[in-house]
Amino acid sequence: MPVIINNDKCTGCEECIASCPVSAIEMKEGKAFINEYCEACMTCLNVCPEGAISEVEKEAHEGTDLQGYKGVWIFAEQRGGKVSSIAYELLGIGRKLADDRGAKLSTVLFGASESEAQELIRWGADSVYLSQEPILEEFNDEPYSQLLTSLIQEHKPETVLAGATPIGRSFFPRVAARIRTGLTADCTSLQIDKETGNLLQIRPAFGGNIMATILCPNNRPQMATVRPRVMKRGQYDENRKGEIITVRQEGLSSRTKVLETVKEVSDVAVNLQEANIIVSGGRGLGDAKGFQLIQELAELLGGAVGSSRAAVDSGWVPHRHQVGQTGKTVCPTVYFACGISGAVQHLVGMQSSDIIIAINKNPEAPIFNVATYGVVGDLYEIVPLLIKKIKEAKGA
């Protein structure tokens, strides 16, 4: 078991049972007992008033030479030969991590042109491993994972990142499985321990109810996928120079084949994800009619309408407006949260917004923890007043 109970200290108070997110603690003969459900989240350690629960020290993997692994890699995905915007976000965070470690930042690019590779250098990469094997033009999991695996085994990067997109989330697991290393999904924040090089991988857990920090201390490279529209792009420098390394690989094969690619985009999704201003409403609106007020403020500011899960679950607004863990992740310049309490599952979808304005009756609402400006008050009083004053200002 990852966690052990000291039976001499355990008083059988059952505090830990309620704290366990996965029901991994039971009572046996008056003492706590860890069952097979344990996911080693360590929550119970702090809950036990007697200090009877402790972590089992894990032995380091024998023979893994962590020092031999250097540099940060990001995987730049492309569709139809054009690099996706997530690649530039990865270069933003990747540059920071590499600088913190005094290391190089490299990019891996499959199936795109040399000019796309140049662009990645201008956005912060020191070098680009570019492979133009024809089999890589369309996304197929097997050749992508075969080639990335072989590049990692040859060059030994310390950290490898991809976007938490349908592409990154599909083929990165195969690479991690093959290399025998850890992969953390859908991170919303990354930091590096400057000395050990351990990547602190922060992500929402339990349906976005809480955040978790994940480590991969004994294996390299440490791999993670990063949620799109959470990280800021780095600096663009037209004159930045870097190296493009052409990669040729024979014998790449695929048992899947893409027959057709069909584009299908919802207007609302595009509006939300590209909007500079988003006005969102939640449970505090009380009914579907409240969204007219949200709509009016959004139109006045030239913004898009968002919502919390609670408002969608109540049937006040369609799911395509939902922001959060099971909806869209957005990153506007200004985000208005009206009558939204701020459950973690909502926060993880909008907390990278530059400025967050929260309007809520309850001064204890967690939304105020992430707000830049907080207005404690009745939204039905505040928002109409705000609309009136904006109209006056625009008229003047």
Binding site: A18, P166, A212, L215, V262, V334, Q351, L386
Partner: protein, 260 residues
């Protein structure tokens, strides 16, 4: 055709609440359910069986009480259930979980393996693709439609960021499925009777002939360092006064950031 559906019993995360004082999860009273995406995988398995004939086996890894999830799947129409349960499996991350599942699937033998796109408690979406890699078979993620199945190949629609791809794969294959794929059926009366009578096989480490170094906590490269609620922003400003004054202050800030 042998069809294996991997399912997970999870806490209904929509019901989970946070204790505001300790910042920890309140698990009490939260029901255990079959991961909602896995219901669509079960339905897809039953659909394929109706088309091609064969057998649907549901497979799960978890504590003894996860047997309930297998019986629910049998009530929907699955033929058999296998429970992977052993203290050696505890603390598994996605690497160790996928490794364990792949050993069991290799023992069962399968032409098509189905998984939900992700579990709602972990939200990683990694176990399906990692399992396919361990089995050395292809996989297709985010399947939203099964267009055709033949003896040695399958054609599906794979959901992408801006639309979908039509993808063909050789068999055996592993598919992870999204909600749009189908509407899961409800258990039938006959199914419920079968579920009651079904004998669930339980397999441990010895049954799948795995090395202890590849299982559970020992076989897991990742570790959870801590769990926390997000902290307050340091630069936040709570606007004071009457509603009128608050809105005036807000207007000033909005002008300052050129929102107006």
């Amino acid at each position: 055709m042998n069809i294996v559906v991997c399912i997970k019993q999870v806490p209904d995360t929509a019901e989970v609440r946070i204790n505001p004082e300790t910042g920890t999860l309140i698990r009490e009273g939260v029901p255990s359910i079959i991961n909602p995406f896995d219901l669509h995988a079960i339905e897809a398995g039953l659909f394929l069986k109706e088309k091609t004939g064969g057998k649907v086996t549901v497979l799960t890894m978890g504590p003894p009480q996860a047997e309930t999830a297998l019986r629910e799947a049998i009530a929907m129409g699955a033929d058999e259930g296998v429970l992977l349960s052993d203290r050696a499996f505890a603390g598994s991350d996605t690497w160790a979980t996928s490794f364990t599942l792949s050993k069991a699937i290799a023992k069962l033998g399968a032409d098509v393996i189905l998984c939900g796109k992700q579990a709602i408690d972990g939200d990683t979406a990694q176990v399906g693709p990692e399992t396919a890699e361990f089995l050395n078979i292809p996989h297709i993620s985010y399947v939203r439609k099964i267009e055709d199945i033949a003896n040695s190949s399958i054609r599906v629609q794979r959901l992408m960021d801006e639309g979908y791809d039509v993808v063909e794969s050789a068999l055996p294959v592993l598919l992870t499925v999204v909600r749009e794929l189908n509407e899961p059926r409800l258990p039938s009366l006959k199914g419920k009777m079968a579920a009651k009578k079904a004998v669930i096989q339980t397999w441990g480490q010895a049954d799948i002939m795995a090395d202890a170094n590849d299982l559970g906590l020992k076989g897991s490269p990742t570790q959870v360092k801590n769990i926390f609620s997000p902290e307050a922003r340091s630069d936040r400003k709570i606007l004071q006064g009457t509603p009128e004054e608050q809105v005036d202050a807000l207007m000033q800030e909005l002008r300052g950031i050129k929102c107006l």
